[in-house]
Amino acid sequence: MSALALIFVVAGLGLIGWLTARARAASFELGGAKRLHSLPGQHGWYVAIWTVLPALLFIAVWSGMTPRLVQDAVLQHPAAAQLPAFDFERDALLAEAKRVARDRSATAFDPVAEQLVAPTRAAISYYGWIGAGVSVLLAFACGALAFTRIKARFKARTRVERGVMSLLLLASLIAILTTLGIFLSLLWESLRFFGQVPITDFLLGTHWSPQVIDANDPGKSLGAVPLFWGTFFIGAVIAMIVAIPFGLMSAIYLTQYAAPGVRRWMKPILEILAGVPTVVYGYFAALTVAPAVRDLAVMLGMPFASSESALAAGLVMGVMIIPFVSSIADDSIAAVPTAMRDGSLAMGATRSETIRKVLIPAALPGVVAGILLAVSRAIGETMIVVMAASGAANITLNPLESATTVTKQIVDLLTGDAEFDSPKTLAAFALGLTLFVITLILNIVALRVVKKYREAYE
């Protein structure tokens, strides 16, 4: 029995539970008790939740376990002795047998796989029926138990409320658990990488050329400092030189000077800018800005200037970040009490004096937090640098030269022919982990600053 059909059966049981419990609760009412504590429908929900939830949890756990159990059973079969010992080939054959076992119209290419089809099919069906049986039984048992608890004074309403809360909690936990899972998988692969390459070589090495790796000393060509520098240079320096002044000034204009009519159409346009897919910015960077920057470099007397300069990628990234900075600065300035602004104006300060000397200093923590968040976004940004930045890992202060970033290198390392055990591929995970940690720290600092700042005005 397939998992989907099983879920339907359990849901059906839940519906039956709901209907019978509601009917029973309604009959209590007729039976002479003064008043039920909870409405009949709430009793229905109580029983339905107890019927469905444990069974669904079991199904989730069971379907995670089944493939392993099926494989173990198949390996017990005498035909499995002919399987090759090498993991990769063996897994391929097992997978083939499984595919044929599920899909009767398919046929196996390999004779060994052919022989394994029957045992696989038997095992799948065996464990499938066990799972189905247990879950239906579980649904029935829990439902029945819940049903016996329903009484006129039973507080189904409170219990259902608690059930709703757990459901919401579960929903919010999923995002957190996913983040944790991502982090752990990154950590795991990174540990494998650091088993082959010393962490000091990776974090402190200044030479990056993953295409040519010396098998005896892979750390020599996997020094990530040029990537960190490139990321910092493009995302935190060039992009911010563009984004901070323009973002701040647009926020000041929008909050302090713009007439309400102007603000009404200008702010949404700025926000649309934040919604443009980054790949579009990537085109713009690669096809329009980069050649212009190269022409400029040639004019300035660099005849062999790269068309993949750090400047082009950084400029476009800065433009992408402007609405981000602007929106957070806007919020921070708007959060400064009007009394503060009036106080300054009443002293005879002009509008721009008030902005410079009172509003900006008061809004500064919020603005700084916004900038940190913007930096963390910029250094994690991928599409623009993949399309417009170079792959050459240089440590340079010249924005007209090429520089590469962590994200760009991750993409390069993981595309094309990759072996999953080589230091070259695993380096991508170590880079990912480093990036993850840096952006995480930036975000935490930023959120703390914002929180402290909020408290100051409440």
Partner: protein, 255 residues
């Protein structure tokens, strides 16, 4: 009504917020060396009217002032009037203490700095000290001038705001319910301070507390529904109001 020429005067002043008229054809004279109280129930337009004396209504979107307001006979709404200079001459203290998120010293030094009143650091320090002294705050804060102004108590913050206003040496001080957010002890200090400042400035205070008006002011103007009902000597107004509406308000019939 007065022998001397008024410091500020309003003639047929109306203030509109969009289509709504908040102040209706009010005429009044404000004298030097006196405290004038504006009283009246909430929403009677007294604060709005006060804010037309230093053009703070300019900062409110959709606000419009009609009529004539003069300072030393000069029309403050004339195109040639420099709003920045006007506000330096007509200072304001707000209902809720609003110190800047800067040190105590910087709060008081703010005005002298932007108007360039001090040529040197020591001169600036002198201005700050005398402003804090006149506001009765010097002894409480002289050892912690670099602490944040927002760390002071509510009453101290309000006196800091008064010190900040007098640091630019204004001629008129407008106070918009300066004690309504304070406890009775802090209120008493503010009232005492107003009494001490009386001889130097023309002071206009908006209050909804009639006892306060009686205690601190020499002149009282009673506003109701955007109009000026009665204006005269405070003593006379509280003992023998000429208008029925004033009497009803003062005796607590409504408000």
């Amino acid at each position: 009504m007065t022998e001397q020429t008024p410091k500020m005067s309003a003639r047929d002043v109306s203030v509109f917020y969009g289509d709504k008229q908040a102040v209706k054809n009010v005429s009044i004279d404000i004298d030097m060396d006196k405290v004038t109280a504006f009283i009246g129930p909430s929403g009677c337009g007294k604060s709005t009217f006060l804010r037309s004396f230093n053009r703070m209504n300019d900062t409110v979107a959709g606000a419009r002032v009609e009529g004539l307001v003069t300072l030393d006979g000069e029309d403050i709404y004339a195109p040639s009037m420099d709003v920045v200079q006007l506000r330096a001459r007509v200072g304001m203290v707000f209902q809720k203490p609003n110190p800047f998120p800067k040190s105590i010293f910087e709060n008081v030094a703010y005005g002298p700095r932007i108007h360039g009143l001090a040529a040197s650091r020591s001169e600036l320090e002198g201005i700050v000290e005398s402003a804090l002294r006149r506001a009765g705050l010097w002894d409480e804060v002289k050892d912690r001038l670099s602490d944040s102004g927002t760390a002071l108590s509510g009453g101290q913050q309000q006196r800091l705001c008064i010190a900040r206003a007098i640091a630019v040496d204004p001629e008129v001080i407008l106070m918009d319910e300066p004690a309504s957010a304070l406890d009775p002890i802090a209120t008493a200090k503010i009232e005492e301070l107003i009494g001490e400042l009386r001889g130097r400035y023309a002071i206009v205070i908006v209050t909804h507390n009639m006892q306060q008006a009686a205690r601190v002011s020499q002149r009282t103007a009673f506003f109701h529904l955007g109009t000026l009902v009665e204006y005269g000597e405070t003593d006379a107004m509280f003992t023998a109001p000429r208008m029925e509406r004033t009497k009803d308000y003062i005796t607590g019939r409504y408000g």
